[in-house]
Every structure is written in structure tokens, then in C-alpha cells.
Amino acid sequence: MSEDKTEKKPEIVGFACSFCTFKASEMAGSLRLKYPDGVKLIQVPCSSRVDPAFLLKAIFEGADGVFVAGCHPGDCHFIKGNFYTRRKMAALKEMLDVFGMKDRAKLFWVSAAEARRFVEKVTGMYNEIKERKNARKEN
């Protein structure tokens, strides 16, 4: 955790499909778009490679937020991988909801061309978590 007294910086772990979201993040780099450095991306061959156990591990090892990002439904490189992701993530969110931590996990659809959308999504998530984290600190 950051030592900064005035502001806590969240850490977010993201699992990005190498065919779309990871490409989009590379494109965001070449377009000189900035996204918060607390967002750490892990490249996976397909969003359905992500077992929700990975996300749970990240959460319990100290990540403030986790996300999975893959191709839009129907555009999967492996034809149907992201349909499974969608089911798995819906279930994981329901499970986190039981314990009141629904806001920790997110699912994004970002295609390889949507660098701007990728930056918007992760920055939005980052700011949301940052706000909540700092609000909690005050009381």
C-alpha cells in the first residue's frame, strides 16, 4: 500500500485478452493516451482462460479491484470463449454480491480498435475505487 498520507492509490489487476484488449492497450500507448499506473495488465490468450479463482486470489492478496476484459460477444478469436467468460463473471459477481463486494470485480468488452474505450473504462474504474478508498480512510 502507498505511504502517501493524503491520498491512497488503488491497485487494479486486469486480465486482458491478447487478441483485443491487450492490443487496445498497446494502441493506447502508441496514441499517447494515458491511463493510471495502478492498473496492471496480465495478458491471457483468451478471456475464458481466466478462472475466477485468479480474480479471487488477486482480491485476497491485496488488489483493490480486478477486471477481465475480452472481445465483444460474438467476436472471440476462438469463436465462443467470451460467452463462457460472461457466464463465469456473472456468477462471480453474484457470489461477491453475497459478501458485499460486488464492486471489486468488473467485466469489460473492448475490441482491438477501441483504445479510447479501454482508457475510459479503466480510468473510470480506477477513479471509482480511489474515491471509495479515500472516503473510507476519513471515517
Partner: protein
């Protein structure tokens, strides 16, 4: 529904005749003076009992990785056990071909850890004994399917105390053809009605941490879970539960941690992994040496997760497990 009335002693006679063949087996309950337990009967049906008011393990557990090799097996088990069997068949852990699964009406069970004195073993006696739900295990008092309405066939008791055998699949029909008598329409109402829904499970991390603070990480709950079947469990290595230097690294990264470490992670991941297949039998709680209310969490979470896909574990052989299938037009709002 059409079924056959089972006359006194008829079922035992039929099963004994079935067991005369060397390649035939029956998995059921055996009553000894020490209590009641599972037994695979071969050749003879000694000390067989149809009903079992005691819960120690889930019988489907013994069927894992069973490929029958031409052996005919009849299962006479409780509904929760048959449901776990159904899930294992769908997970390709059991070859269904030669197995006839017969579920028997269950009025509730007591924990084998807490039982006192002799328990009744006949249907009516058990029914009377469990008139007061506080006598049964918590898992049984909130059971989702107590009726023998799952598997290939069911044995049910009607309100007047008569036993009925009802077929649900073709295999159930051939099981029924072993019994004497002609199939007839069931006239009277059955003793067990469908269960009412229980309230949606809610909890939070604080309560979870309190309940699981006693956990010693023996992993008995995983080992005795009928549907937790992976040979290479993710918790077998030290990827998820670091040891030695890796543990030091983790502590320096995240700060001080309570030992044994990784309790939350272990139970959360297991809760997710069995979420669609959990039958809520309570075998995990039965195996827990620390008496942690595992069923409350595992059953509660799994029921909520199953309801996302309108699925019920062990309901039928044809429904596939939600995580291995999908519909293109669903969950439109799943992304954020």
C-alpha cells in the same frame, strides 16, 4: 404418475434375486449395532435397510471414477446422494450406462457426530421422529429436494404409509419391471411435498471471518465433498497457498497475516468451483473437525449462483452444467 406399490419384503426379495448374479451389485445402507452406514452388497443382502436417519458421508463420493465394466449396479440412496451422482455423471466422473440410481424419500437426518441412542429405521418411524425439525441437521432442515424425485427411479411413501416405486427414465422402468405387481396410478398424496423456498442468502466478510476463524486448513471439507472431484486440485501445490520463501514474499507484499493463511481464499475458491454442482448435502460440515457452519455458506452461495442460470444441481441428466454451456442471447448487462 404410474408406479408400483411395494409390498412388505418384496423389495428385499427382488434385490436378493438381483444379487444372485455375480456381476450385480447394490449400493445401499447397512444397519449394524454400531449404526447405519453405506455398503456395496455383493451376493447377499444382509442387514440391508432402505432408510437411513444418520448422515456421515455422501454416498456419491464412493462412485467417483467408477467405470462399471459390465457390472450392473443399483443405487438405493437419499435424494442428495443421487443428485450428487447426477452431477458427477455430467462431469464424466461416473459411467452411467449400467447404473440404476434410485432415490428414496428422506425425512431428514441427524449428524453421525451428534446422534444419541437408537434411531428408528422404518419410514413411518423416521417421519414421526423428525416431526420436530430441530432434531435434524441444519442442512436437512433447509433441504432443497427431500423427495425421491431424482435419478432413474424413486421410492416414495404416500400419506397412508404405502411405499411406491416410480420410474423417471427407461432404466427406472426396467428397475420397476423387477418388482412384482402391475403398474397403477398413484392415488393418494405423497407424504413429502415440494420444499418451500428459503430466503436468499446474505452475508459479509466480517461474519465470514468470524465463522471461519477456527479453520485449521485440514482441507477435510474438500476431501469429503462428493462433487469436489479434481485430482489435481489447485490447492495441492503451493501456487495458491504459498509456503516457505514464497510465504515470506507474500507477507512483505501484503503485511501481517493470520495463520493458517489463505483461509478466505481457500473457501472462496472452493465455493466458486462447486457453486453449480453443490447439492447442499452438508458432507463438508460433517467432515469439519472444528464445527464450522460450512453448509450455510456453501449452500447459500451455490443456490444464489444456480438461480442466475435457473439451474438446480442434480435435477436432471439432460441439463448441462451452466459453466460448460451458454446461450448467445443472455446476460446482456453482464459487462460494466
Amino acid at each position: 404418475m404410474r408406479g408400483k406399490k411395494i409390498k412388505d419384503g418384496n423389495l428385499e426379495a427382488v434385490l436378493s434375486r438381483f444379487l444372485e448374479d455375480d456381476q450385480h451389485l447394490v449400493l445401499g445402507f447397512e444397519k449394524t449395532d454400531k449404526g447405519i452406514g453405506h455398503r456395496i452388497f455383493k451376493n447377499s443382502l444382509d442387514h440391508f435397510t432402505l432408510f437411513n436417519p444418520e448422515f456421515s458421508t455422501n454416498g456419491a463420493f464412493y462412485l467417483r471414477r467408477l467405470f462399471s465394466k459390465g457390472t450392473d449396479i443399483i443405487l438405493l440412496l437419499r435424494p442428495c446422494e443421487i443428485r450428487a451422482y447426477t452431477e458427477l455423471v455430467k462431469l464424466t466422473q461416473i459411467e452411467r450406462e449400467k447404473i440404476t440410481a434410485v432415490s428414496i424419500d428422506c425425512f431428514g437426518t441427524v449428524s453421525s457426530k451428534e446422534k444419541t441412542g437408537d434411531l428408528p429405521t422404518d419410514g413411518e418411524g423416521i417421519k414421526d421422529y423428525f416431526k420436530d425439525p430441530s432434531k435434524m441437521r441444519w442442512a436437512c432442515s433447509v433441504c432443497r429436494e427431500r423427495r425421491g424425485a431424482v435419478g432413474d427411479a424413486g421410492i416414495r411413501i404416500d400419506k397412508s404409509g404405502v411405499l411406491w416405486a416410480l420410474p423417471y427414465t427407461e432404466k427406472g422402468e426396467s428397475f420397476l419391471s423387477l418388482l412384482e405387481g402391475e403398474p397403477e396410478e398413484t392415488t393418494t398424496e405423497m407424504a413429502l411435498a415440494p420444499n418451500e423456498k428459503i430466503a436468499q442468502f446474505e452475508s459479509d466478510l466480517k461474519r465470514f471471518a468470524e465463522d471461519f476463524s477456527k479453520c485449521i486448513m485440514c482441507k477435510n471439507c474438500r476431501n469429503m465433498c462428493p462433487v469436489c472431484y479434481c485430482i489435481d486440485c489447485v490447492f495441492n501445490g503451493d501456487e495458491y497457498l504459498p509456503k516457505g520463501d514464497a510465504l515470506l514474499n507474500k507477507i512483505f507484499r501484503t503485511g501481517s497475516i493470520a495463520m493458517p493463511q489463505g483461509k478466505e481464499l481457500f473457501h472462496f475458491i472452493r465455493m466458486y468451483h462447486v457453486s453449480q454442482t453443490c447439492v447442499g448435502c452438508g458432507a463438508c460440515e460433517e467432515a469439519c473437525p472444528e464445527g464450522i457452519p460450512l453448509t450455510k455458506y456453501f449452500k447459500g452461495v451455490s443456490e444464489r449462483l444456480q438461480s442466475v442460470f435457473s439451474y438446480m444441481s442434480g435435477r436432471s441428466f439432460d441439463e448441462s452444467i451452466p459453466y460448460v454451456t451458454f446461450l448467445e442471447e443472455e446476460l446482456k448487462n453482464a459487462d460494466d
